[in-house]
Amino acid sequence: MTVTETPRSASEAAHALVLEASGVTMRFGGLTAVDDVSMKVHEGEIVGLIGPNGAGKTTFFNCLTGMYIPTEGRVTLNGETLPPKPLAVVRAGMARTFQNIRLFANMTALENVMVGRYCRTSSMALTSILRGPKFKREEAATRERAQELLEYVGLAKSTELLARNMPYGDQRRLEIARALATDPQILLLDEPTAGMNPKETEETMHLIFKIRDSGLAVVVIEHDMRFIFNLCDRVLCLVRGSLLVEGTPGEVQSDHRVIEAYIGGDDEEEESA
């Protein structure tokens, strides 16, 4: 597998459409957290989602993955409308990580990833009790796949560590491995480099490229601008719940409205929102 270090241009990424969100709106009482946001993600594409704190990025993720039921709008994966249920969304092929790491702290790294295999395996109660050949085969396959994925993200040596005992950067990578275990077509990463040092950030970037090259679509929320502009094929900027700008990293980077949103006058209001 070759690793492409540079982002591809938008035209090159014009593969099959994977995810389409149209007119997604999320209101909590009087507060409109996400306002009419539309997004398209293609196969083998890395899309970045930026915006000041409280812009609604994570809420938008939650709408996509069925953790929130959007007030309005539609999310389709491969042309099929997704019901707003996390389980159905994962089964359809969309996996995510969390901004504040939500690993199963008292399970080992391997067990965490094995939980990710849950929705792609089928042994139920009777099979588990009887322990027939099917059960053993599936269990061995689950273990093997989990091991593979840990190696893939660079945690081959940490399989038996408890998740809570792992260094911060490794926990982020373990979350990615766990999400990959669900065999997704599209991976949503919520601040994958938060709290990482430059070296770890660099490694994460390579990992995301590697994932992209294996044919997955990736959507990334991030505050680290250098990271996002180096990584993404396309960037969306959310401000106060609505889509401000969409374009290539170059376009977004030079857009004066984006700069204004980040360093401009209304900063305090954004923080409190």
Partner: protein
Amino acid sequence: MRKLRFSDATRTKQGPKAPWLAIAGGALMIVSGLLSWSYDDRILGDLSIRFFPAGIQIYSMLFGVIAVILGVLLLRRPPWLSPARGLRILGITALVFLVWVLGSIAYQSDGLINLNEGGWVALVGALLITVGGTLSPDVEINVLTWPRLSSTLEILIIVVLMAVLLFTVAYTLDIQDGVIFASFLVALIGLTGGLLGTGFGGYLGFLAANNRRPLLLAAFVVAFLFPFTQDGSDANMSIATQILIFAATALGLNIVVGLAGLLDLGYIAFLGTGAYVGAMLSNSAFATVGWKPPFVVVMLVGAATAATFGLIIGSPTLRVSGDYLAIVTLGFGEIFRLTMLNLDGTNGPRLTNGPNGIPAIPDLNFFGFDFGDVHTVAGIPLGRFSNYYFLLLLLLMFVMLVFVRLNDSRIGRGWVAIREDERAAEAMGVNVFGLKLLAFSVGAFLAGLAGTIKAHQDTSVTPEQYVFLESAFLLSAVVLGGMGTVMGVLVGATILKLLPEKLREVNDYRLLVFGLLLVVMMRFRPEGLVPSKRRQLEFHEDDTELVELVQAEHLQESK
């Protein structure tokens, strides 16, 4: 054989006199056994005669013998053993033992004046042991550096220990006097604790982990042999069958509570469902249903009915968070009892005979093997309760199998994930609702299974047997023993069923005592007596030492 590795860093200075204190204390306790403890010869198996030790005096002498052994070991300061810790445990339990015994003598013979010199000598001895143990430093020990024995020898140790266990259990149950029984339990805890605390406990745990299958087999052989030690007497077998049925039910509840993390306060209703189905389909003259299938079919019908109830209760409530489920199950338990009370022909269809219940349920009969008869095997008569004991042992084995195998599977991993972080589990594709419902209905199924046997063993089924208090007791057994483990539930069930039977004095206050016990447990050991390591971690989030320990075990297992 691996070489022993000692590090001098673990040796610390100790008071030179401390071991001698312990040895002197031990000697005093040995001597005390030969002295008179009580002026009154009618109480506690006659402790009044000098140079003729009875039960309690012998226990005291055993304390002394072990204290002397540990004291001598302490003098030699072996770097691979920590006698000081053993001595402390020994000393403190000896104090508890003596306070209990001397207090009981004073109470039963009206006043401390009736105590003779032996008791006081023993008390001084116990104090000296405790002081000696406290003044001596601990030795950090790592059992992994102990020499490895050959596997046959390891298995032999397990067999010997199991045999000792069998005879201890038989001896314990043979004690009729409540006070002596309790003092023997304390002595047992102290003596084993004193020996195991030195480091042998860790080594035995290591042995057990290395030889799981032989250990399990040996444990079942012991359980199977137990009725043969009773010489045809049904007194203890009756208690044993009660413990077994209680343990099997509590283990089913542990799937719901310990594995899936759901609080079920009406679990007894599922046991009751099974029992009522068993009674209604039995050959009792009061049975209300004409269909008389073979018992295997009855068991399946009972279990399936209970599981169906579980599904009906579970499906609307398991979608909401924990507290609601507790309340709904609490309500379900009451609904069950009231329904059984009212299906008497006047308020509803005549199914249960209302408060009279269904009495005179005949004993089971498997292909001519009547459970009510006495059968003689190898010259030892086995009565009615022994017959049920064997059947219930099979049931318990089945429930254990279901528990262990579900826990160690895709489903078990899903349950852990749900307990750890329900939202994350769902976002990772775990069918949270489905798994909760599964736990709930598997638990109900197992309780229903147990209920059908219970109906025959009790010979009658009435609504009063299935009140909320029984659910609370089942839950206490799970919480006391340890959520999520098999051993824990077995320990919890034994304590909760055996103590009230043997300690008749406590029986009237058993709710008070168990309540206090649970409060104390929640304060000092919320994870239960025999917790699962993961549960323990959940209760002690910031205990780094524990985390390291569990971590080391995982690494050990993966090798």
